[in-house]
């Protein structure tokens, strides 16, 4: 791997960087200052973000500048606008936002304020998943410090721009990481995703124009404003710009969160950052971007970890959460865990998702426990095709179907043998605890 510039995790690595004094000493809030005091209009900030090529880091990879530009024209639509920061990080394998929130909460705030300015929001709601207590408390304390220093609230840094920052909590539902599910939850209701259209920019929180952005996405904003879009666009590949955070977990020697530029291959990350597959074993399969993307084989680690390269390879970048599985792994067991996760997290609105996630989970459970039946694989395929694409209100149904279809495509023989033999081909014992279904 070539040497590369880092910026995302630099402050988080410094002890005490979560406090305002240290944050400022490390160069913090310069981005916000430039945004508010150097004559940059909101439209100019949006433009800069578009030119930078920044793509959302919450899993969908949508152009951030483009998303911000969807907010209506303020002269035609004077409704109050909101920015919601999606800190409900719950994608299996993903733990990167937590590092930023715990280690660099002021960076999250600064990024949020720049984003809020760009979309002319008057309030930011930071929706932190309920389990991330330290993250929530660190950001809350940082907001308090920032407010005292005229960085949050009325006339920030003496400018015309006023913006409030409020903390909010989730309570353990993955579906509240879906942007419309998040908005429903923020409004104090069950986290049922909404039909789109209307899109959040037209009718979001409390029927007002809203933008929802991931933590890491807005975290990039101060750097882009400070150093310029051209600087950001020069890093990375043709379709994926800048540095990004990768979580690598599972059967590796050094699991962790690493900052890398787009353009590195999965193999480079695996070998040079994560110390390679553990116990001297070989890589059998892996998820490149959390569990909602297609599985890839061990030999696919040569793929460049960026949006388009992964799509070409048949998967997607998602949250850049690499989950690595060695050659002692039972794929039936892996799919049992994955399918059970989606069954647990489905909100239950759509018929295909509510019933389908349970059905997938039941079938994989039987296969993993030696109770598979001959028509199971055909049924799995039919179910997954009925659940995707775009047949439901939100993409959780797709997220359950995609890994299922990839498991069948790549490991049909193993699954078939598992069914036929009534046990796992690698002789791996069935798990001690039945962890099927409900909480």
């Amino acid at each position: 791997m070539k040497t590369y510039e880092t910026y995302l995790l630099d402050r988080a690595k410094v002890e005490g960087a979560h406090q305002l004094a240290t944050y400022k000493k490390l160069g913090g809030y310069k981005g916000l200052e430039k945004t508010l005091k150097s004559g940059l209009t909101p439209a100019a900030v949006v433009d800069e973000m578009k030119k930078s090529g920044l793509r959302g880091r919450g899993g969908a990879g949508f152009s951030t500048g483009m998303k911000w530009s969807f907010m209506p024209d303020i002269t035609k639509d004077p409704r109050t606008r909101y920015l919601a920061i999606n800190a409900d990080e719950s994608e299996p394998g993903t733990c990167k936002d937590r590092v930023l929130m715990e280690g660099d909460p002021h960076g999250v705030i600064e990024g949020s304020l720049i984003a809020a300015y760009a979309i002319r929001a008057s309030a930011v709601y930071i929706y932190v998943r309920g389990e991330y207590r330290l993250s929530h408390d660190r950001i809350a304390a940082a907001v308090k410090e920032a407010r005292a220093a005229n960085l949050v609230g009325k006339n920030i840094l003496g400018s015309d721009y006023s913006c409030e920052v409020f903390m909010h909590k989730g309570a353990g539902a993955y579906i509240c990481g879906e942007e419309t599910g998040l908005m429903e939850s923020l409004e104090g209701k069950r986290g049922h995703p909404r039909q789109k259209p209307p899109f959040p920019a037209q009718s979001g929180l409390w029927n007002s124009p809203t933008t929802v952005n991931n933590v890491e996405t807005v975290f990039n904003a101060p750097f882009i404003v400070e150093r310029g879009a051209a600087w950001h666009a020069a890093i990375g590949t043709q379709n994926s710009k800048g540095n990004f955070l990768v979580c690598i977990s599972g059967h590796v020697n050094k699991p962790g969160v690493y900052e890398l530029p787009f353009g590195v291959t999965a193999q480079e990350i695996l070998e040079e950052k994560a110390g390679g597959v553990w116990k001297g074993r070989k890589l059998k399969a892996w998820f490149p971007g959390g569990s909602s993307c297609a599985l890839l084989l061990g030999r696919d680690v040569d793929v460049v970890l960026d949006h388009d390269s992964l799509r070409t390879r048949g998967s997607s970048l998602g949250t850049a959460a690499m989950v690595m599985m060695d050659d002692h792994t039972s794929m039936a067991r892996v799919m049992e865990v994955i399918a059970r996760f989606y069954e647990h997290e489905s909100c239950g609105q759509c018929s295909q998702c509510r019933e389908g996630t349970q059905w997938l989970s039941q079938i994989f459970h039987r296969i993993a426990h030696g109770l598979g039946q001959d028509d199971d694989i055909a049924t799995l395929e039919a179910l997954a095709k009925g659940m995707a694409p775009a047949k439901t209100i939100c993409a959780l149904s797709d997220a359950a179907a995609i890994p299922t279809l990839s498991a069948i495509k790549l490991f049909k023989d193993e699954l078939t043998q598992c069914i036929r033999d009534g046990r796992d081909p690698l002789g791996i014992p069935a798990p001690k605890y039945a962890t099927v279904g409900a909480h």
Binding site: P92, E131, A171, G188, K189, S249, G250, F341, Y433
Partner: protein, 156 residues
């Protein structure tokens, strides 16, 4: 209304953060669970309904949606073990087994002496430090069987 005054005073400030009062419901549920015995009782739901001008059945619908809210009493200490993929790949099943053994609580239930509840939960965002559990709101990561025994054994 049976909600203690300090809580309602907190909520009075909290609702100011939102254009509609109801938005504070989930944070209010968290606070009630923290202050009122670790669970959300039917009485608490009725009290919250009164506070937020909702029907109790609406509060129930919201509270039952979110896995973090306990709608039944729990032990004095709650161990939530992640059993999702990154943790499973690194021995979450053994952690669950050990936690149940040390605490005497069945998985998903409470020990007879009322001291422990052991739950399994989905991805907690500690994947790079798997396996893990959350003990009374604090993450314990990079667990081994020995660490599990040590951490839980040290709880009075």
């Amino acid at each position: 209304m049976a909600l203690p005054k300090p809580l309602t005073a907190e909520f009075d400030e909290l609702v100011k953060n939102y254009p509609e009062r109801r938005a504070a419901l989930i944070v209010a549920l968290h606070r009630c669970q923290e202050e009122l015995g670790g669970w959300i009782s039917p009485q608490t739901m009725e009290d919250l309904a009164e506070y937020f001008a909702l029907e109790p059945v609406e509060v129930f619908g919201v509270a039952s949606f979110y896995p973090m809210f306990n709608l039944r009493p729990v032990g004095r200490h709650v161990v939530s073990v992640c059993h999702n993929i990154s943790c499973d790949l690194r021995g979450a099943q053994d952690v669950i087994a050990k936690a149940c053994e040390v605490t005497g609580a069945p998985l998903g239930g409470t020990s007879k002496d009322g001291k422990w509840t052991v739950k399994h939960v989905e991805c907690q965002g500690a994947c790079a430090n798997a396996p893990m559990f959350d003990l009374d709101g604090v993450y314990h990561e990079d667990l081994t069987i020995e660490k599990v025994a040590k951490i839980l054994g040290a709880v009075r």
